[in-house]
Symmetry: C2
Subunit: 405 residues, 2 copies
């Protein structure tokens, strides 16, 4: 007998019928003698509806009141799920964030969890209740309602599981786990049995939106196994996100991001501090720079190129042009036609030839690389956007063919 | 400079446009230098929608979870109203029941207010905030969410006003105050300038659903003037519900209730305790008996007639028939064709001839009275349902004609 935390997202709890399906997973664990806490999101499009109603009132909602508004979505779900379990004859009880409480920072809309009080939940376990918890929300120390940003129910689930010292945390979703690439792009994707926390972090930030990044970080910190599995496939083992990565798999996944733009700052004076000034200016304006390439010319001027998100392009170009004299550049050029292709795997750092294999796959398919960046567990290249799907397929094939040899 | 509490019901806050209209009333008081607390209900049909979704899950919802579910409606409104005021440039902040907190009993769905903590509200007044409060909800001592039953936002408003020692409590609604009768029945109804708490209690329970009864009781207990006025008519003085009734107005209102049935227990043994047994049996089954007539016959048997709500008729007849031997009766007869017409006014007890005038109005119009009951401030008669509108008009005319002479 142990403690199990399960989390069901918005599409898994969208209506009365789906709530019944969710109950099967809960009851299975409960009937095996486990204490079960269940974290849920707002139903289906509830949050979107509330936000569109909010837009009728104001374009810049007060962040505190925004959190008061959207946190009602999860409160509706907890009551309904508790009622559904009761209708099936089980003892269930709902808890909103403030009732537990989950204490957070005061950053409305993006609050960080400081502390999960486990007493209420453990007392209810003693009384054999299935405890239904509102995801995505907490309170700060002044009793203001806070939320964690989109996808924050994953974070609630893992944080609650860590605080309860749960045996496992199951994140139920539409897909049957974490895959080696996007099935819409690559035909023979492979479901990963296991993936490490670090790989999962890179996969999340690369746009494979299976898990919220912050929840993976909490899982890593407390060494809590997170299981990603399907709500609607009964015989799903899913993917375990854990530290104990043992497989000899060179790469876990190939991802792409099609929203990458490049900016080139031309004719920058070749003086100390010039590069720093450019990036300081962008950072002060909340623009994240990703891959950077600096050409060291032979003359007094150099060109500095870097990639940013497409959504930041307009702002970045305006800011740089506004300060062009200050930063000492001649011209700002930009291109919004790039994709970033990344391979992710704990094997990369310890294994030679991974980068070479990746570049070979691109070369064989006549795909030009514009920029390259590497980390311990990731290699990214920027390619022309029109080549991005071809690139993902070529790299995926290269590595999985090798693996199967 | 004082403290003003305002309450706006569901139809007054139904959409973004109406929220703007509501703000006018709030801003008017605030700009006059008052501290303003505003209590709101759920928007328009929100509560009905939540209840219909609940019915998809269960026919007998757990009462605790029902309160968790429906209390989200008011939370949505407080956030939206606070945002609307902020959009207009005012400092506003929302508080759910648990944030104040409003401490209640644990009767889910029908909780009674034990205590309103004023510290949070008064601190926010210090900072010049307009405080927006979720009506209809509180928490019990174990931090469970409780609600007060339909119309409970009125109760919240008056309780908050009493706790804050407010100068006045304004209840905004669709109508411009309390009227001397139902305008759909009587043509020249008169808007009452003032009405006493006791009269208002009788008017409420008689089906003139302007104010929730419990809120009138709180107003009476703390001697707090409650002003009922229209949200949408700008130049509305409304009606003041207060203790200081000074007008020489014999009756305040004429009301009717068309859902009255009569039961006759025939051939009841003429022994001590027989009547008591009948009413004990009904009370044990939560059936309220209203007007009672007992015929003292000359022989050993008597007939006992009483009126009850139509909605209780089926249950009452079944219970009486099931115990007919036990109560010692011969037969249970019933009729579901009555209306109760009442006149209400503090003047009734101290003024002779009021009942005579009422009966005369009915006699002149050839309306038969079946039963009569009187209290300090009320005289009720039961008439055939088909005569009810005619009866209300006749009585209303009789008293207001007299008044205008």
């Amino acid at each position: 007998m142990g403690i199990v935390v399960q989390k069901f997202g918005g599409s898994s709890v969208a209506d009365a019928e789906k709530l019944l399906k969710v109950c099967k997973h809960i009851i299975k664990e409960y009937n095996e003698g486990n204490n079960v806490a269940v974290v849920v999101s707002a139903q289906g499009k509830t949050t979107d509806r509330l936000i569109s109603e909010e837009k009728e009132i104001t374009k810049k909602p007060n962040k505190r009141e925004h959190d008061v508004l959207v946190s009602t979505g999860e409160q509706i779900t907890i009551a309904k799920l508790a009622m559904t379990l009761q209708e099936l004859g089980y003892k269930a009880i709902s808890l909103a964030g403030w009732q537990i409480p989950i204490i957070t920072t005061s950053e409305f809309g993006n609050a960080k969890i400081k502390y999960v009080n486990t007493k209420t939940i453990l007392d209810l376990f003693e009384e054999k209740y299935i405890v239904i918890i509102a995801g995505f929300q907490g309170i700060d120390e002044k009793l203001n309602i806070t939320t964690f940003g989109r996808g924050g129910s994953d974070t609630t689930a893992v944080a609650v599981a860590a605080a309860l010292k749960a045996d496992k945390c199951e994140i139920f979703t539409d897909v049957d786990g974490v895959f080696s690439s996007d099935p819409r792009i690559v035909e023979d994707v492979k479901k990963l049995e296991k993936v490490s926390y670090d790989e999962m972090l890179e996969l999340s930030s690369m746009g494979a939106k299976v898990l919220h990044n912050r929840c993976v970080e909490i899982g890593k910190k407390y060494n809590l196994p997170i299981i990603v599995k399907s709500t609607f496939e009964e015989q799903s083992d899913g993917t375990v996100v854990t530290d104990s990565y043992m497989e000899d798999l060179t790469i876990s996944g190939v991802t792409k991001d099609d929203h990458i733009a490049r900016i080139s700052v031309m004719g920058l004076e070749n003086k100390i501090g010039r590069t720093y000034n450019v990036f300081k200016l962008l950072a002060d304006n909340d623009i994240n720079v990703d891959v950077i390439v600096q050409s060291f010319g032979e003359n007094v001027n150099k060109n500095l190129s870097f990639s940013i998100k497409t959504s930041d392009l307009e702002d970045a170009v305006k800011i740089l042009n506004d300060h062009i004299n200050e930063i000492g550049a001649r011209e700002i050029r930009y291109f919004d036609n790039l994709s970033k292709i990344s391979i992710i795997g704990v094997g990369i750092a310890n294994k030679t030839g991974v980068a070479a294999d990746m570049f070979e796959a691109l070369y064989e398919n006549n795909i030009n690389m514009h920029m390259i960046s590497t980390s311990e567990i990731k290699i990214s290249v920027l390619v022309d956007r029109e080549d991005s799907n071809k690139a993902v397929n070529a790299i995926h094939k290269k590595f999985y063919d090798k693996l199967n040899k």
